[in-house]
């Protein structure tokens, strides 16, 4: 199995790279962080008997992506699985954020993901099943004041993935969309989650377990994966409660959490 992973130098991408390597899959990893890529490559090759190729790439730049693609074509690499993990968010309300940063959320989370998905689907290994994973978010289930751009960008991925799944069904390709709540990636991320209080912790799931189950489910032909019972319940609520009510509740909750988070940072 040849697997292509974006955002592979940290967080969920690194956890999935680890999980894939432990299953003996060969990896092509990309990330904007070149040194981080070299380190995870080293770590994986020392732990597992797999081939790991890496190429640093800024997915928001078409030139950078083209350069990576020609690298792939020069080495005649074909793929059986694509894990679209790269994504970002900036904290703070819409008017308080930098304009370019807001645009960048959509450029990376959506536009770049489309670009890569199209390119890698063209580089499928012929005669084999193919698997695609998109990382949406629990945030895609609700309109989210103060995380408006992020949540909407993830909603885009959710709807896109569900549609693409139908389009690719007859081409023996399965598309899964992952909608996690919080993920325990780093001590810093956990501190960010702690300030959200009870709900932050309760919607957080173990990273290595989410990575393992994501692979299990996409291979089993599943279409959507919401980790954790509480998250499944919350996403169900998102479907039945009027969206304007949900938005009002979320604004109240995030305002408290973000104030704590931001003032916490000012004090350091």
């Amino acid at each position: 199995m040849n697997v292509f992973i974006t955002g592979a130098a940290g967080g969920l991408g690194r956890a999935l790279a680890n999980e894939c390597a432990s299953r003996g899959y060969n990896l092509f990893l990309t990330d904007v962080n070149e040194e981080g890529l070299a380190r995870i490559k080293r770590g994986l090759e020392r732990q597992f008997d797999v081939a790991v190729a890496v190429k640093a790439c800024d997915l928001t730049s078409p030139e950078s992506v083209d350069e990576m693609l020609s690298f792939i074509d020069r080495h005649r690499i074909g793929f059986d699985m694509l894990l679209n993990i790269a994504g970002l968010d900036f904290e703070g309300g819409f008017t308080r954020r930098e304009r370019e940063n807001i645009v960048k959320i959509v450029t990376l989370n959506d536009a770049a993901t489309l670009r890569i998905t199209h390119a890698i689907l063209e580089r499928r290994r012929p005669g084999r099943p193919f698997y695609v994973v998109f990382v949406s978010s629990l945030a895609s289930m609700f309109p989210m004041p103060l995380k408006a751009t992020y949540a909407a960008s993830k909603r885009f991925l959710l709807d896109f993935a569900i549609s693409l799944r139908q389009e690719l069904k007859r081409q023996s390709a399965n598309v899964l969309v992952l909608c996690p709540g919080g993920l325990a990636t780093t001590p810093e991320a956990m501190r960010g989650i702690e300030v959200q209080g009870f709900w932050g912790k309760a919607t957080t799931n173990p990273l290595e377990e989410v990575a393992r189950k994501t692979l299990d489910r996409v291979l089993a032909g599943k279409g959507i994966y919401v980790p954790g019972l509480l998250n499944k319940f919350l996403s169900f609520c998102g479907k039945i409660i009027p969206r304007s009510w949900v938005a009002a509740v979320i604004r109240w909750r995030w305002e408290n959490a973000q104030n704590k988070w931001l003032t916490g940072h000012d004090n350091i």
């Binding site: 680890n18 999980e19 380190r39 080293r42 994986l44 020392r46 325990a184 173990p206």
Partner: protein
């Protein structure tokens, strides 16, 4: 003046051991993660004992690149001020994690810091240790007796449990010490593990989840002050000739787990060498 290196020296057992060794006339090189906390630790030692010779190095030993960097800084210091001699290395830095988190290399945090960091640092400082017929001391724990090595899933990705990961990392400490003595004892170095006992430190409250932190907040109250285990480290640094045992608690040898076998020690050595990208451990090819 004999020089010792101690990691995790800005709080808890590390700080008290650094303080005691400085008082007993050792030149103490401490390693800590945070520059400001290193500064505070140094001030606290010197304010109590103006004669103390203490230098701090800043490094986050979770990352192998940081271990390598600080090791070369320490080696330059030793070459310049100590005739290239290191009398003791105390691999004390450690952590507890409620969640399975990984380093840049994709290694689980407790395995990476509690075991691999010390393994790599010992390798990088080995020539200086040999020159002084030095000692390597690990901070172990009685809890190592409650587990075995999970050879097929060392990083515990399948069924992560903070306590299992912690216990296994402490078992690694003893296996590493045993391996050092058996494979490299001929070079004149000697390795030990100290069981500090239950000590009132904040290890269970740093970067852990609420549950672990909550439990530890109660448990640590029954612990002794960290100045008590510091005596055992000082004993192992000072005693001449070097003590023969492996595992010490309150200045005395203690029985360790049956899992501590030569076979396991060698296997861990091989795997750790690979995980650190080391060909010739201690500069010696086998």
């Amino acid at each position: 003046m004999k020089t010792i290196v101690i990691t995790g020296a800005t709080s808890g057992i590390g700080l008290e051991t650094a303080r005691l060794l400085a008082r007993q006339g050792f030149n103490v090189l401490g390693v800590g993660r945070d520059e400001e906390r290193c500064q505070r630790a140094k001030e606290s030692i010197v304010s109590e004992n103006p004669e103390a010779s203490v230098t701090f190095f800043t490094a986050d030993l979770l990352h192998q690149r940081e271990v390598t960097r600080v090791a070369s800084e320490i080696r330059s210091y030793l070459d310049e001020h100590c005739n290239g001699e290191l009398h003791a290395l105390i691999n004390n830095a450690g952590c507890v994690r409620s969640w399975h988190m990984t380093t840049e290399e994709g290694y689980e945090h407790q395995f990476a810091l509690n075991h691999l960091a010390g393994f790599l640092l010992t390798h990088l400082l080995f020539p200086a240790l040999v020159k002084a017929r030095g000692r390597v001391i690990m901070t172990g724990s009685e809890s190592h007796k409650g587990t075995r090595m999970h050879w097929n899933d060392l990083m515990l990705r399948r069924r992560y449990n903070p306590l299992t990961a912690y216990k296994q990392s402490k078992l690694c400490n003893i296996l590493f010490a045993k391996g050092l003595n058996e494979l490299y004892g001929a070079s004149g170095i000697r390795a030990y593990v100290v069981d500090p006992g239950l000590v009132n430190t904040n290890i269970g409250n740093k970067e852990t989840g609420r549950l672990v932190s909550f439990i530890w907040s109660f448990r640590k109250r029954h612990g002794m002050p960290p100045s008590v285990p510091a005596e055992t480290y000082a004993f192992l640094c000072r005693q001449e000739p070097a003590p023969e045992g492996l595992y010490y608690h309150r200045l005395e040898e203690k029985a360790y787990s049956r899992q501590v076998t030569s076979e396991n020690a060698r296997l861990l050595f091989e795997i750790s060498k690979r995980l650190c990208g080391i060909e010739d451990y201690a500069g010696v090819s086998e």
